[in-house]
């Protein structure tokens, strides 16, 4: 174990990795602070860079963007009452009132330190939970894996925003997109319509670029460009230690909620921050002041949303199953880098796993440092005119689509999916279920058909496996819960 840790430290201290951490965190904070972009767009924008970088710097870059963007949303939430990402929506409730009474620097201090603590806590959870889960999953066969995939697909129901039918339909659409190209068992080419480039299938990166980045640009263009009123020039201030000690239970509670919600498929940082906020509002001794600039509100939201980052990596690294759309994109990018997440990663590449954990720790520290030193700079970022920003995002997104295989066909795929997704968004459909379906689809089919070979085409034998039966039961419970939640009145 010590040898692996030393190797990991050696990998971490390379110049490329450190530069990637700094750059990724900075880009993430900026992207997170700008309302409407979000973590997925941020990761999409750095995808071209991950192609050129070695393994660990590439992972470090994505982790930096992920953690930085989740934290960055708090900056605009506090300064302009508009969350940079949905994960910071709850931060508005207390962050903006605090800023309006002249304590914007203190609010940023609370948000930054809470994000750091939540992020570090989730790394500890990741260190403990991921190897255990991977050790369990090594014993999984195709039947168990198929059942696990079905459970993971319940996250589609969770990320379906207003309409469950629309969400599941988009999920099925994504699963079908994943079936275009070579059949995983026989190698037959499916649904290529004699287009040579389609024989390799629809790439995940071009699809994500189109579905998130381009569709978001078109959607923002439709909403109209508005100016924002930014609260003056701000600094950064950390509250005295006694104020933190008064709130240690809030910090711990929010970190625990975020970490464990992150592990569940489909429940992202936004869910964690709201659940944490409502729980703290229920139990905090200062709950009457929440909603009017009470630090407990900021801590509840920010510790929880950053704790999700480590939690979401548990199923991603241990099982190869993404916890949310952000980790779905990261998963695709990891595979491109030759890192195959799953149980084998913990057996064959332990040093890389430790290196990723250490990266995450350094990213969180870097995020806090940048937040503290760069508060004035980040508040100025909010003044970038949106038309310029959207145009530059479009360029970077299309470069990302091109850079995967150096094919204009991928750029065309991104454009078509972007236009289709933008139109579907106006009809109330969302892209997240589609991306999850696209990521999970090929593996789902492979495991299903392998399982059918083993059982000689008999579906009933699937239930002979206790682990598979338990997972099917959990699938039914989660799916039923989602249906009940979406269909009950009010």
């Amino acid at each position: 174990m010590l040898e692996n840790i030393w190797t990991a430290l050696g990998m971490l201290t390379s110049t490329a990795t450190l530069v990637a951490i700094i750059a990724g965190t900075a880009v993430g904070i900026v992207v997170g602070a700008l309302p409407g972009l979000g973590s997925v767009v941020g990761i999409t924008m750095v995808l071209p860079f991950t192609i050129a970088l070695p393994q660990l710097p590439s992972v470090a870059l994505m982790l930096g963007v992920y953690c930085g963007s989740v934290y960055g949303g708090s900056i605009s939430a506090i300064l302009i009452n508009t969350p940079g990402t949905p994960a910071s929506a709850a931060t508005c409730f207390d962050g903006y009132p605090m800023a309006r009474r002249g304590d914007a620097d203190l609010a940023l201090g609370w948000a930054t330190m809470a994000s750091l603590i939540g992020g570090v806590f989730s790394i500890i959870v990741l260190m403990i939970a991921a190897p255990q889960l991977a050790a369990l999953a090594v014993r999984f066969g195709p039947i168990e894996y198929f059942a696990l995939m079905m459970f993971a697909l319940t996250c589609i129901a969770t990320v379906s925003q207003d309409s469950l039918i629309k969400g599941v339909l988009m999920g099925v659409f994504g699963l079908f997109l994943g079936a275009i190209g070579p059949d995983p068992m026989s190698g037959d080419i499916r649904f290529d319509f004699n287009v040579f480039e389609l024989s390799a299938g629809i790439g995940l990166i071009p699809a994500v670029v189109g579905a998130f980045a381009l569709a978001e640009v078109f959607h923002r263009a439709a909403e109209g460009i508005s100016g924002v009123a930014v609260i003056g020039s701000v600094g950064f201030r950390i509250a005295p230690l006694r104020e933190w000690l008064l709130r240690w239970k809030t910090v711990l509670k929010a970190s625990v909620i975020g970490s464990f919600i992150g592990i569940l498929p489909g429940t992202g940082a936004a869910t964690a921050s709201f659940i944490s906020y409502s729980e703290v509002k229920r139990t905090s001794p200062r709950r009457e002041r929440m909603g009017a600039g009470e630090p407990d509100g900021i801590i509840a939201s920010e510790a929880a949303n950053n704790a999700v980052t480590g939690g979401a990596l548990v199923p991603t690294l241990a099982l190869g199953i993404p916890g949310d759309p952000v980790t779905a994109v990261m998963l695709g990018s990891l595979v491109l880098q030759g890192v195959t997440p799953g149980p084998k990663l913990f057996q064959e590449n332990v040093a890389l796993v430790y290196a990723i954990l250490l990266c995450l720790l350094v990213v969180n520290l870097m995020m806090a440092l940048m937040g503290a030193l760069g508060a004035r700079f980040f508040s100025r970022i909010l003044r970038i005119p949106e038309p310029l920003l959207l145009s530059m995002v479009t360029v970077l997104a299309l470069v990302g689509a091109y850079g995967v295989n150096n094919r204009m066909f991928d750029v065309l795929v991104a454009l078509i999916i972007g236009i289709v997704m933008a139109l579907l968004r106006f009809a109330g459909f969302s892209a997240a279920p589609m991306v999850i379906g696209l990521v999970l689809g090929p593996l789902l089919e492979e495991k299903l058909r392998q399982a059918l070979i083993i059982t000689d085409g008999n579906f009933l034998v699937f239930f002979a496996s206790p682990a598979a039966s338990l997972l099917f039961l959990l699938t039914l419970l989660f799916a039923g819960k989602a249906v009940f939640a979406k269909t009950r009145p009010g």
Partner: protein, 155 residues
């Protein structure tokens, strides 16, 4: 336009797509595929198409059953999005012809204007500097090739 109209259009589009793909699964090229579930290349896609058809039909019927309020169509917004989509499409089409640099300079000169930004000096600066910086970063520094020009010169 009624509130239910987008749902009806989307459901119809999905149903048409499902019909086309289902037709495709019966084409001759898949006949040589294995007969058992495990070996048949179109077994899994057909399951998805069946589920998709059911969901699209459910959405269609659900939308039909609601009368829905009348909503005003925001034609200005539609025009802006259509114009931007047109500009981005043109950008993708001309990129392999003119190369990344020239195409991006042209795109960044036009797109902000389409989105309503009118500070010409800033547009010119961004349209010039951003593509050059991107070109340097990707091609020279990261060694990621970008599309060259096929029409005039090798980019």
């Amino acid at each position: 336009m009624r509130q239910r109209t987008p749902d009806l259009i989307a459901a119809t589009a999905f149903l048409i797509g499902v019909a086309v793909m289902t037709w495709e699964t019966f084409s001759e090229i898949y006949l040589a595929s294995g007969q058992s579930y495990a070996h048949n290349a179109v077994f899994y896609p057909r399951i998805l198409l069946g589920v998709g058809a059911l969901l699209a039909l459910t959405l269609f019927v659900s939308a039909l059953s609601k009368r829905g309020a009348l909503v005003q169509v925001q034609t200005e917004r539609g025009k802006r999005v259509a114009a931007l989509a047109g500009v981005v499409s043109l950008y993708v089409i001309v990129m392999p012809l003119l190369g990344f640099l020239a195409a991006t300079i042209a795109f960044l000169a036009v797109a902000p204007v389409v989105l309503g930004y009118r500070r010409w000096l800033t547009v010119v600066c961004v349209a010039t500097l951003f593509p050059l910086a991107s070109w340097w970063l990707f091609v020279s520094f990261l060694k990621i090739p970008l599309p060259g020009a096929s029409v005039f010169w090798a980019g």
